[in-house]
């Protein structure tokens, strides 16, 4: 053990130790400037405008269009109309993930889910009233996107529809149905496209099982599945058309879009979590809801590759591909029936058993 030391070292020396002094000054000034940087927004002299905050959760692929277009557009409109600033706090992940988070109690005021199925789960957990979202415009459906297949440039595996994905040697990247709404849509597309065109349950099942035998990677959300595909995994990715169109409009798309003859149009559901909304924020939420279905917001969605619920707006995006016979979940009896008969009884109980070694 060393001796008692009552004072720091450089005071006790007779000669000033310049090196030590400079060293300490450097350390102190860097720590000080770091502290200044960290606390800057909360310092008293920094101007902070009075704002209202609204918390929005959304499914994975909605991130850009909401953060960069829709919410800022609403912000400006709202400020012009009322002079009030509204701030949006957002979080985007797989639809199943955000649904679980809402059940656990995250302070979401509004959520945009990729499937109605997740809305029903919120009902089960007594977060929402039965069919509460059906009272919103268009029964709560905000926009749509058909499910397509992305393949590598030049289509080396010769894939032209879902039936080609069952061929041996095709590696498929698929989002995980446990957390991703997109994955649920994809399952309906894989089964429904065969079922509705051939009217044959067995062949439809074979197509679903054949595709799943070829799945080489599963990701937590549609967006992370795309990231995996972009990083070189697999030969094909089943995803929202919007995912591919966004890259196409940016000139970044290196993969090729394959439009199946028949595929599902996903429908994205908005839910309002009443118990999290402060009474004084109510009218902002109502205004935002109106805005979401307005022509302005819907055009922004179209610009970003979503198909609007207003058919006439869809003509403005030349990139939308032609699908010979599209279908929606109602053609399969609605989500609750489709979930039970296709996702649970077929995919989970039979296909998963078959592909697990």
């Amino acid at each position: 053990m060393s001796e008692f030391r009552k004072s720091p070292r450089f005071f006790s020396r007779h000669k000033t130790n310049w090196r030590l002094l400079i060293q300490r000054l450097l350390v102190f000034s860097s720590v000080g400037s770091l502290a200044l940087f960290v606390t800057w927004p909360w310092l008293p002299w920094v101007n902070r405008p009075e704002t209202r905050t609204i918390v929005i959760y959304g499914f994975s692929i909605l991130g850009e269009v909401m953060n960069e277009e829709i919410l800022p557009a609403f912000q400006t409109e709202w400020e012009q109309q009322t002079g009030e600033r509204v701030e949006f706090i957002t979080s985007f992940a797989g639809s199943g993930t955000i649904t679980n988070q809402i059940i656990l109690g995250v302070p979401a005021d509004l959520a945009i889910l990729s499937t109605e199925l997740d809305a029903y789960r919120l009902v089960e957990n007594r977060i929402l009233e039965q069919d509460a979202w059906h009272r919103l415009p268009n029964k709560g459906i905000l926009n749509r996107s058909p499910f397509i297949i992305l393949v590598r440039a030049g289509n080396p595996k010769g894939i032209h529809g879902f039936e080609d994905l069952t061929k041996p040697g095709v590696g498929i990247v698929h989002p995980d149905p446990l957390t991703s709404g997109g994955a649920q849509w994809a399952i309906l597309a894989e089964y429904g496209s065969a079922y509705l065109t051939l009217q044959d349950e067995e062949q439809a099942y074979d197509q679903l099982a054949g595709i799943w035998k070829n799945v080489v990677a599963q990701a937590a959300s549609a967006r992370s599945a795309r990231t995996q595909f972009e990083n070189g995994f697999g030969d094909a990715l089943i995803t929202y058309e919007q995912e591919a169109l966004r890259d196409k409009s940016l000139g970044k798309l290196t993969a090729e879009i394959i439009y199946p003859e028949s595929t599902i149009l996903s429908e994205h559901t908005v839910v309002v979590i009443n118990k999290n909304i402060e009474p004084e924020d109510r009218y902002v939420i109502d205004a935002l809801l109106q805005f979401l279905w307005s022509d302005k917001a819907q055009s922004l969605f179209v610009e970003h590759g979503y198909r609007s619920i207003h058919e006439e707006l869809n003509g403005t995006n030349p990139n939308f591909g032609l699908i010979a016979s599209p279908f929606v979940v109602n053609d399969l009896g609605g989500w609750q029936q489709a979930k039970q008969e296709i996702v649970d009884s077929l995919w989970m109980e039979k296909v998963l058993m078959e592909i697990t070694p």
């Binding site: 060393s2 960290v38 706090i89 979080s91 109690g105 967006r223």
Partner: protein, 278 residues
């Protein structure tokens, strides 16, 4: 003669082989992945780097992470030192069990920590269920992130301080009392100087771990941008979204921070052992 030579300079010639193998193993395992971050950052250019740094999300995530890390180091600094002091000084029934218990967080997977915090403090949790009607909701808020980080990093301070306290003979403390020193004086002039190195090392370790914490944070934070999104969560979200450049920029900054902290740590512990030898 040659035998004596070999004894006098052990390993100079024979060491070549093992050292090369060590480097060959370490290079792809540790050094190349770290280099990849900077390599990628450099190739995306300084302009992209600055542009990323101007985004409010990035600034917030970095600030929030640093603030939480600082708070965690401060709180656990005090709590950990106190725990170490009590455990080193007093022997009581169950003190062994307690000292094992407080070290447990190192062994528990962080995701488990996140889950258990949610099941305790979350709106559907054991305590959270009572607090929720009162409007107290620690989870999915900065407080929740802090709670998670305090849990996860608790043992680091303890681990740095306790060995010093164990070694520090009681006689010093007692001697101080006999010459009339008050409790505070004893702490200030006897314990604190001896603990300085340990305190510093522990605080830095806590800070560094808090800065990089992911598993528990991702569960308890709700991953809300501009509110609870820490830098590691931001990196993960951006990477998943395919914005690899943005993710990498923040990763490079975080890595640089960690290096700086580590070198600081190394320097201080070295200084300390040097001083002891003086």
């Amino acid at each position: 003669m040659s035998i004596i030579d070999a004894k006098a300079e052990p390993g100079r010639t024979s060491g070549f082989f093992p050292i090369t193998i060590l480097l060959l193993v370490i290079f792809p395992l540790l050094i190349m992945p770290l280099a990849a971050i900077y390599f990628f950052a450099a190739s995306s250019g300084i302009k992209g780097f600055i542009e990323t740094l101007r985004q409010p999300d990035v600034l917030f995530a970095l600030r929030f992470s640093l603030l939480i890390a600082f708070a965690t180091a401060l709180i656990n600094g005090v709590l950990g030192t106190y725990t170490a002091y009590v455990l080193a000084k007093y022997q009581f029934r169950g003190s062994k069990a307690l000292s094992i218990l407080v070290n447990l967080p190192v062994a528990i997977p962080t995701v488990v920590v996140g889950t258990s915090l949610l099941l305790l403090w979350g709106p559907i949790g054991i305590l959270g269920g009572f607090l929720d009607p009162l409007g107290v909701r620690p989870m999915f808020a900065p407080a929740g992130v802090l709670l998670a980080h305090l849990f996860v990093t608790f043992p680091y301070m303890l681990g740095a301080v306790k060995p010093v306290l164990d070694e520090l003979e009681k006689t010093y403390e007692e001697a101080a009392y006999t010459i009339g020193a008050s409790k505070w004086q004893t702490f200030r002039y006897v314990l604190l100087p001896a603990l300085r190195g340990g305190l510093f090392a522990g605080a830095l370790l806590t800070f560094a771990h808090s800065l990089g914490e992911f598993g528990a944070t991702v569960l308890v934070s709700g991953n809300l941008r501009l509110r609870t999104q820490t830098a590691p969560l931001y990196i993960f979200a951006q990477f998943e979204a395919g914005n690899i450049e943005t993710a990498n920029t923040v990763a490079a900054i975080l890595a640089t921070f960690s290096f700086l902290l580590f070198f600081l740590l190394l320097r201080f512990t070295q200084n300390d052992s040097q001083r002891e030898q003086e």
